[in-house]
Amino acid sequence: MSPLLEVDDLRVHFETEDGLVKAVDGVSFSVEKGKVLGIVGESGSGKSVSMLTVMGLSRSRNARISGAARFDGQDLIQASAEDLRDLRGNDVAMIFQDPLSSLHPFYKVGRQLVEAIQAHKYVNKSEAKERAIEFLGMVGIPDPRRRFDNYPHEFSGGMRQRAMIAMALVNEPRLLIADEPTTALDVTVQAQILDLIARLQTELEMAVILITHDLGVVAEVTDHIGVMYAGRIVEHADKRDIFRAPEHPYTWGLLQSIPRLDRPRDEPLVPIPGRPPSLITLPTGCNFHPRCPYVRPRHREVDPRLEPVPEDPAHRVACLLPSETRKRLWQELSAGKAPEEARAEIVEGGLA
C-alpha cells in the first residue's frame, strides 16, 4: 500500500540579507492512511516549515523549494496554487500552536467554522451552521449552539484549541497536521487535547502528523516518530523503537533530558550541550557533531545519510558511529552512565 503522504528529499531554503537559510535541508518521511506520525525537534529544526511547505503555505518570493511531497499521488510541491488551495482545509487540514492568535479576533467562532465549510462545500448557511454546531459538540464544547455565537476571546484556551480542531476537521480531512497543538496550553488541558486528537483520529480514520518539541507528547499518541535536527530527519522509527532502542546521539540527548517515572527520582536530567547550529552556516560533516559527545574526527568531514539499521529496515538513522558502538553506548546510557563515561569506555576504548 502506498503511503498517504510521501515527502521525498524536501528542501526549503530562504534567501535573506544575511545569507541562505537552509530551514529544511533534505527531509524524507511518509505517513500511512490512518496512522499518526510524530515529528520531534527543537525550535528551528525545520518541523513547522516542512509542514507549511507541504500545505503550500511557505511559498514566498525568497523561498527556494525543491523535492517532492506526494499526497495520494499528487505532488504538492509542483501543484498549482489553486490546486493547493482546494486541498487545504479539505483533504489536508492544519491546527496551530496558539489557538488565541490563530482564530480571527473579530469574527464569531461559529462563523469561522461556517466559512471553512463553505470554502469547500456548496451548502447554504443554515446547513453549514448545523454542521459547525455538530462538530463543536464533537470536540467536546458544551452547549455548542450557544457557543456558536461567541467570539474567540470568550473561550478558554483549551476551548479555543477544541474550536480550532473542530474547524480543521469540519470537512473531514484525510490528513491532519497538528503543529505543536498543546504547547500553549496548561498541562491538564494538554492531555485532554491529545486524547481528543487521538479519539477523533480513530473515529474519522485520518492520518495525523503531530509536530512537537516534547517527546512526552508523542509517546502518548503516535505510531511512528521522526526526529528532526537542523533541517533534517536524523532518526525515523516505530515509536516503540525510539523509546526502547534509539540509535542517534541526539535522540539519546532528548530522551535523557526529559523526566521519566520509571527512573530513580534523584537521577539528574542531562541537557544536550551547546545550541542548535545557525541554519545559514551549517557545520561541516555531520550537523550534530559540534554537540555530539561521541564525535570522531571523521564526523567533521563526512555528511551521514539517513540509512536503515542492519536488523530493521523500518528504523533509519543518520549517524556515522558503527551500529555496534551505538548499541553499546545506549546500553551504558540507559544503565545510568553519564555521556562522558560512556564515551571514555566505548568510543575511546577503540571500538570506533
Partner: protein, 320 residues
C-alpha cells in the same frame, strides 16, 4: 453602552463651555483691532464709536459681556450677532456649513477610496513597481502644501485659466440645492486637492498595518482553511488593518467640518473656514466664537463616534 454615550455627551457640554471661555479670554488678551472702531468706518467721530461700543455691549466689563453671551447661548441657543454687520451668527453658520460639509465629506470619500485601495495593493504587492511608485507618490502628496497643489491644479485644469480647460475653476461653487451637476463639477478640483495629502497618508498607514496583519497567525489559519487569497486579504486582513484608518478618518473629518481654510481660500468656496478667517480679520467676536464652537463640537463628536465605532469593529472592546 447607552450610559457611556450619555456620559460622554455630558463631557462634550463641559468641554464646549471651556472652549468658549478660552476663546473669549484669548480674544481680549491678545492685541486686536477695536471692533467698534472697525464698525464705525473710515473717519468716525468719537460719539459714533461710543454709541457702537454701547450698542455691542463692549462698554460692559468682561465678565458681564461673557455672562450676556452665555445667557443667550444657553437659554435661547442664540449665538449672538456679528459685530460688523448684525447678521445672526447662527444663520451665517447654517448658510456656510453646506459648502464646508460638501467639501469635507466629498474629499473624505475621495481620500478613503484612493488611500484604501492604493494601500491594500501596495501591501499585497510589496516591493513591486506599483508599490514603489505609489509610495513615492504618497511621499510627494504628504509633503505638498495644499495651497501649492490648489494653485497648480487651477493652473493646469481650471476652465478659465488652465492649460487643459476641463474643470470649473476658483469661485465656481454652487450649492447642491441650486444645481447638483454644477455643485459636483465645481467641487471636483477642491476634493482632489484637499484629499491628496490625506489619501497619501492613509495609503501609507494602511499599507504598514496590512503588512503587519498579513503575518498574523489568524491569516495563516485563513489560508490553511483553503480560502481564496482575495477573501483572506479582504475579509481577514483588511478587517483588522482598517481599525486605525477609522480613527484617523473620524478625527480628520471632524477637523475639516470645522472649516478647511486653505482649500476654501484657494477655490474661493464660501465655507466655515473662510468665515472664521474673515471674522478674525474683523475682530468679530461673536462670529469667532460661533466658528470655534462649531469646530470644537465636530471634533469632540467625531471622537465619540470613533470610540463607539470601535466597539462595533472589535468585539473585544466594551464600554461601561
Amino acid at each position: 453602552m447607552t450610559t457611556y454615550i450619555v456620559r460622554r455627551l455630558l463631557w462634550v457640554i463641559v468641554l464646549l463651555f471651556l472652549v468658549s471661555a478660552i476663546t473669549f479670554v484669548i480674544f481680549f488678551a491678545l492685541p486686536s483691532a477695536d471692533p467698534a472702531q472697525l464698525r464705525a468706518g473710515r473717519q468716525p467721530n468719537p460719539q459714533l464709536v461710543e454709541a457702537i461700543r454701547h450698542k455691542l455691549g463692549l462698554d460692559k466689563s468682561l465678565p458681564v459681556q461673557y455672562y450676556r453671551y452665555m445667557k443667550g447661548l444657553v437659554l435661547h441657543f442664540d449665538f449672538g450677532y456679528s459685530y460688523q454687520n448684525n447678521i445672526s451668527v447662527k444663520q451665517q453658520i447654517f448658510d456656510r456649513l453646506p459648502a464646508t460639509a460638501s467639501l469635507a465629506v466629498g474629499a473624505a470619500v475621495v481620500w478613503l477610496v484612493i488611500g484604501i485601495s492604493v494601500g491594500t495593493i501596495s501591501a499585497i504587492k510589496r516591493r513591486s513597481l506599483f508599490d514603489r511608485v505609489a509610495m513615492g507618490g504618497a511621499l510627494v502628496g504628504i509633503s505638498a502644501p495644499v495651497y501649492w497643489l490648489g494653485l497648480l491644479s487651477l493652473y493646469l485644469f481650471a476652465n478659465d485659466i488652465g492649460k487643459i480647460k476641463i474643470f470649473p475653476g476658483s469661485g465656481s461653487y454652487v450649492p447642491l440645492s441650486e444645481d447638483p451637476t454644477k455643485w459636483f463639477t465645481s467641487l471636483i478640483l477642491p476634493w482632489f486637492v484637499l484629499a491628496a495629502s490625506f489619501a497619501a497618508f492613509y495609503a501609507r498607514l494602511l499599507r504598514g498595518n496590512l503588512i503587519e496583519v498579513m503575518s498574523e497567525d489568524y491569516i495563516r489559519t485563513a489560508r490553511a482553511k483553503g480560502l481564496r487569497e482575495r477573501r483572506v486579504v479582504l475579509r481577514h486582513g483588511i478587517r483588522s488593518a482598517i481599525t486605525p484608518i477609522v480613527t484617523a478618518a473620524g478625527l480628520d473629518i471632524g477637523i475639516l467640518l470645522g472649516g478647511a481654510i486653505l482649500t476654501e481660500s484657494v477655490f474661493n468656496i464660501p465655507g466655515i473656514g473662510r468665515l472664521a478667517y474673515d471674522s478674525i480679520q474683523q475682530s468679530d467676536l461673536p462670529m469667532i466664537q460661533g466658528t470655534v464652537l462649531l469646530g470644537a463640537f465636530f471634533i469632540v463628536m467625531m471622537n465619540l463616534v470613533v470610540d463607539v465605532a470601535y466597539a462595533f469593529i472589535d468585539p473585544r472592546v466594551r464600554y461601561s
